[in-house]
Symmetry: C2
Subunit: 456 residues, 2 copies
């Protein structure tokens, strides 16, 4: 088709919108390994999990078989507020790069949370409401997930308690303020509101907190308050299920205009965006119906797929959560403090880890100054100021497009633009002021974290 | 039609998009009064204006007759990046208010500049490029306009010099940083880079600047640098012409689904958004083809339409710009320092001023705590965090919808949601912390500013 026939931005009509989430696990020959009880090292049962998570979400978490989950009408109604997200042809970027490649991106940033996180937040809030709960607890680092969950809870009139890593709470007051607009209570972590928080503050009075600690506080608060459950924004199988809406929309739009992506690229922290974007395409590949190259892009400073090991590890530094088999750097790994670009998680979605181990997808890592260079190039020609996380995918997409320029191949490249960088301008400032460096952990450092992995 | 037939959000297809701007002046019986030379008090000639503005923009500024301006292809191409903007039915807000009214809003915030300002920025940058200029200068207060212009200049590879009111430069480093991403040079005003800046700094060493001073610095820099012109983001006739794209899209979408708005509401600072939104509807009213109620909403702390006078006044506090006949509070009026919500301009678009004086539209003013209450209500049910400016329109739309609940009338209300509030969270914080008050200028204060109006 010609440019005239394919719109610049493809928006599905309401009748074209996906009506179900696609459960990638149903088509995986090697299923993701089960979560293990941190005490007994036995697979977590539904009963054990339902003390922490909502019942229907536990069922989704454990279900390796059901291929399609109809999306509840209440969630479809909410999706209408900000979905479909546009699938955009990056004509201006192609021109700038002088590449024969065709570049498309699926843009998830056009909602107040600023990212794709809202897709799962609204689902998790819905099931909490349906179960008659009073509220949910969670942790947030930079604040994207906390914002998304606050919006979802406001919509369903659920209470929302967010533990925000103290350093972010203090340095990102605007994120905190958005959550307050949506009625969430935001507590800097570690705090005096939990046992684990008090213990950490006693041992490390000056600590600025960590995601691991915030998770532990959120879990403790959920378990200790009747009518509350804990929710998580990435890594889990249920989250990838909800995020499949990204890939479903993308696939419907591409099929409609007969576009076949050769390469599909996404940034990967916990894996929720990448897992969602690739889901239906990976399904075709698993079923032998089509072939695609999938590329996970991670920061060189936190390289779980490219330099981690595939092993059981704790999901949190507090080691209270179930063990997950995943590519990991070790649960006490923390990226260098100068690392500005999100994607700081030590592990990776068990589903994506299994697919990577099975050779179904590739992974690359990129240093952060290159990421910000790509971000700025993209912003200037395509208009959108991208989140640092998303810019990892931009960077890899540009690399592939430049390769096409060199070989003359007219490949079609699709990448996920997960969000906007409006709350990441401190990082952009560092980049402009030349205060950003590209520290990469040494092999020795990684080995020392690896040595502390649980022996299972 | 039923809800099933009208989409929740209406996006025009590419073939439905407006191909021309509509020049409202062509249908006005009483044309807006001409700009006057501040020295001679004679109407500004095209030659005089072209020292400051691009030639084609001067022509647009002075043209009261041409009804339709075809939008140049280069601008249509840029519009494709972020237009069409969605026309949204506010089902959730209606439900929350228990109103029989149907509420629609046209949302202009889904672009990195965060507002409708980009519609005119790209047009002004295009004509500057076409004229072979090196760059443009402008002023910015809160930073919305400066951001929009930076994006437009990056796209056309034009230099962009922004004078940013010093207090905003210091308090809004993120806005400044976005402009840097797009390659603009941002100078805090007053600065040592201009004569007028040096003079002001000498007289008031500790000043934090004002929009009027920044305008004067930007104009001086444009006039003193070969290959540069000055551009402005509101008030001018040319800006309303470009912004008519908002109303054109809205009208096409509403006509497609046979929706007739009874009331059309927009916030009004300089008037660019309101003038753009109402343009084609007002055209119908002026030609006697249809009737609508138009409501301009302004802050009670800066009430140019509701408490100002219709008179010739300076556009800037430095009194170097042409005189415009408009509703004004006096060019040295500055709203109370606690005023958080934008819309701080002392005057109003000459086009809108004339229409208001002719009884073609209404105006109301609202106190700022009510504006933020409306903003929060809207954010929680409709998802989008609105800009304080836009929230003035939300506030008035809610008032009309509540009136419908009381009378049982099923009116159709349309309002302009001009932008997002991601860079206005300091104001939201003040609101949440109870530190916002509703200072309104007294009659005596307004009279004292009025007494200093130029006598023409």
């Amino acid at each position: 088709m010609t440019r005239q026939e394919i719109p610049y931005k493809i928006y599905l009509t309401e009748s074209e919108m996906p009506q179900y989430w696609y459960n990638l696990r149903a088509d995986m020959k090697n299923k993701p390994a089960p979560l293990l009880n941190p005490g007994t090292h036995q697979p977590m049962t539904a009963e054990e999990l339902s003390g922490v998570f909502c019942e229907e979400l536990v069922q989704q978490e454990l279900d390796n078989d059901t291929r399609e989950y109809p999306i509840p009408q209440e969630i479809l109604d909410f999706y209408k507020m900000y979905r479909p997200s546009p699938l955009v042809r990056a004509y201006c970027l192609e021109k700038k790069l002088k590449t024969p490649a065709k570049i498309y991106y699926k843009f998830e940033g056009n909602n107040t949370s600023g990212s794709h996180k809202l897709n799962s937040a609204i689902a998790q809030a819905y099931y909490a409401k349906k179960q008659g709960l009073k509220g949910v607890t969670t942790e947030t680092g930079a604040g994207q997930w906390g914002t998304a969950l606050s919006m979802a809870c406001a919509y369903f009139e659920l209470d929302c308690k967010v533990y925000m890593v103290k350093v972010s709470y203090e340095q990102k007051p605007f994120r905190r303020e958005v959550m307050r607009v949506y009625g969430a209570s935001v507590t800097p972590s570690p705090s005096m509101t939990t046992q684990v928080g008090r213990k950490i503050l006693e041992e490390h009075p000056g600590t600025t907190g960590s995601l691991g600690c915030a998770i532990s506080e959120a879990v403790e608060t959920a378990v200790g308050n009747p009518g509350y459950r804990y929710v998580l924004g990435s890594v889990l199988n249920q989250v990838l299920l909800h995020q499949s809406v990204i890939g479903m929309e993308t696939k419907i739009a591409m099929d409609k205009y007969d576009i076949h992506p050769d390469i599909i690229i996404g940034c990967a922290g916990g894996g929720s965006n990448l897992g969602g974007l690739i889901a239906p395409f990976m399904g075709e590949k698993l079923r032998g119906e089509a072939d695609y190259r999938f590329i996970a892009v991670e920061p060189a400073s936190c390289p779980s797929l490219t330099r981690g090991v595939f092993a059981y590890d704790f999901a949190d530094t507090g080691m209270v959560c179930p063990l997950a088999k995943m590519y990991t750097l070790g649960s006490d790994f923390i990226p260098a403090p100068n690392h500005a670009g999100g994607l700081r998680y030590h592990g990776m979605s068990p589903i994506l880890s299994q697919l990577y181990d099975d050779g179904m997808m590739e992974a690359v890592s990129v240093p952060q100054t290159r990421v910000f260079e790509a971000a700025e190039t993209f912003a200037r020609v395509e208009g959108i100021l991208p989140a640092p996380e998303s810019s990892h995918a931009i960077c890899a997409a540009i690399d592939e497009a430049v390769r096409c320029r060199e070989t003359g191949e007219e490949k079609t490249i699709l990448f996920g633009l997960t969000g906007t960088g409006y709350f990441d301008l401190v990082a952009y400032e560092k980049f402009h002021d030349g205060k950003m460096d590209d520290y990469v952990p040494t092999d020795e450092e990684l080995a020392s974290f690896r040595a502390r992995l649980p022996r299972i």
